[in-house]
């Protein structure tokens, strides 16, 4: 079986077999990232362009490292240093990049659907690195990889996704994939942060955090996007932290041995208490480390000749 897709735009259309192929391919690259010489020649001569219209350090660096460890050439494009500020459209920018023979474009954009629009317009493969509130498929895949790496199987797995679900592309990608793989997904947060119709994706809605935590094996915290919504969706940050912040006491409500995840960057003392973020049950830094291996796997699978 192989990944017969030009682009990776979202996890919604991926089959279980495709998801498993990506996770198994990432296993091979995890071995590579553990070597003294963390580089293989698989993508020699290929060009990967990171096109980021939103600030991002971790995702961009992760993709850059992944591409470099595959021996691809990497170019970073960001709007502040490009012609976008001069009024060029997304598609025109991308076509210019394509004219320089980019094989894979990694796009981060504030508008939902931007990656899809780009994929239709260019011959290069497009990987969505986050588009608005829509999806962040590679984050979803590295989360799945981290869960699996901890020896947990997806069938019947109980997962709580906690926080601003409505404005989280990470949550959306994870819900799609986890439900598909047979997990029981609970979404938790205040009503103002709960997207309408989320039950239709197969998730169960909880407004009471403590109740949602009972018996879960995975606690996936979302970042409170202070720079975006400010506190408009909630009276005060203190109140949010009290109702939906993950404390050591609350972790005890979950399954013994439950893991705590967070896509980062974390707001210590807001959605997650510092002692939880630094605890043994936290896999937050594993997520970052696995991100490189998972993205190497995705780049490899998408680099077949066009």
């Amino acid at each position: 079986m192989s990944l017969k897709r030009k682009d990776l735009l979202s996890l919604a259309p991926l089959s279980v077999d495709e998801i498993r192929l990506i996770l198994e391919t990432a296993d091979s690259f995890k071995e590579v990232t553990g070597r003294e010489i963390k580089k293989v020649p698989a993508l020699r001569g290929r060009t990967v362009v990171n096109l980021f219209f939103e600030p991002s350090t971790r995702t961009r660096t992760s993709f850059e490292l992944a591409a470099k460890r595959l021996s691809a050439d990497v170019i970073n494009f960001s709007p502040s240093s490009s012609s976008v500020v001069k009024g060029e459209t997304l598609l025109d920018t991308a076509r210019n990049i394509e004219a320089m023979q980019a094989d894979i474009i990694v796009l981060r954009h504030p508008s939902a659907g931007a990656a899809e629009a780009l994929a239709v317009g260019v011959k290069s493969s497009v990987i969505n690195a986050g588009d608005g509130w829509h999806e962040h498929p590679t984050q979803g895949l590295l989360d799945l990889y981290t869960i699996r790496d901890r020896g947990l199987s997806f069938e019947g797995l109980r997962v709580a996704i906690v926080g601003d679900v409505a404005h989280s592309r990470v949550a959306r990608s994870n819900i799609h994939a986890l439900v598909k793989l047979g997990a029981e997904v609970r979404v938790v947060g205040p009503p103002t942060m709960m997207p309408r119709g989320v039950e239709k994706l197969g998730a169960r809605v909880y407004y009471n955090f403590d109740e949602a935590l009972r018996g879960v094996q995975v606690i996936m915290m979302l970042r409170l996007q202070l720079e975006r919504q400010g506190i408009a969706l909630f009276p005060t940050i203190r109140e949010y932290a009290r109702l939906y912040g993950l404390t050591a006491e609350r972790v005890k409500l979950a399954d013994p041995g439950a893991i705590v995840m967070h896509p980062g960057p974390i707001n210590r003392g807001v959605e997650i208490a510092p002692e939880v973020a630094d605890s043994l049950s936290s896999v937050i830094l594993d997520q970052v480390a696995n991100g490189v291996a998972v993205r190497m796997g995705i780049l490899y699978l998408m680099s077949g000749a066009n």
């Binding site: 391919t25 091979s28 690259f29 590579v32 020649p41 680099s303 000749a305």
Partner: protein, 186 residues
């Protein structure tokens, strides 16, 4: 299975031939390297891995001491990756010892163009700097496209380019056979 129902197959080694070849190669490895000092075997996935395990077992029986063994997936080092539409499935490389300063015997089932061995040597050298790399194969079928030569050969089997050699092994749920397969359309 090699008889009339599959007329395009021709048996060239049976289970006894394979076992004797493995035993002889094990002795040759020990003779050439004067024992097992610094010796390690690395099988190339997938057929080479099974043969490497058999060789290590024989060596252990002869010398009463164990030799480190590793498994190498050469996919990422292939020279045709950028030409393929679908990327081949990756399998895991697992070499749980430091290859530096070791005498590494690469093991594969069939030596053909030599391209796999070139890729395997590159892959191995990415893991460290072996003192020496040697090559053991069960079958050498000729038609080299690179200047590569095996150190230990189970059997030389002259073939035409249109033929295929299949090494079937018990570990893969088959009987131990080496057969030549004629391509029907060729």
């Amino acid at each position: 299975m090699v008889s009339s129902d599959r007329p395009l197959e021709r048996l060239v080694m049976d289970a006894g031939d394979i076992a004797r070849a493995v035993t002889r190669i094990a002795h040759e490895i020990l003779e050439r390297n004067k024992g097992i000092q610094d010796l390690a075997l690395v099988g190339i996935r997938t057929g080479g891995v099974h043969l490497a395990h058999r060789l290590v077992k024989r060596i252990q029986e002869i010398e009463s001491a164990s030799v480190p063994i590793g498994e190498l997936d050469i996919t990422l080092y292939r020279d045709d990756l950028s030409l393929r539409k679908d990327q081949p499935i990756l399998r895991k490389t697992s070499v749980p010892f430091d290859v530096s300063d070791k005498i590494i015997v690469l093991v594969d089932d069939v030596l053909f163009t030599g391209r796999t061995i070139r890729a395997a040597m590159d892959g191995l050298i990415d893991l460290g700097r072996p003192e020496e790399i040697q090559l053991a194969v069960l079958v050498d079928r000729g038609h080299r496209q690179l200047p590569i030569k095996a150190t230990y050969i189970g059997k030389n089997i002259p073939t035409s380019r249109e033929e295929n050699i299949h090494v079937l092994l018990e570990e893969e749920g088959e009987d131990d056979w080496v057969v030549i397969l004629k391509r029907e359309s060729a």
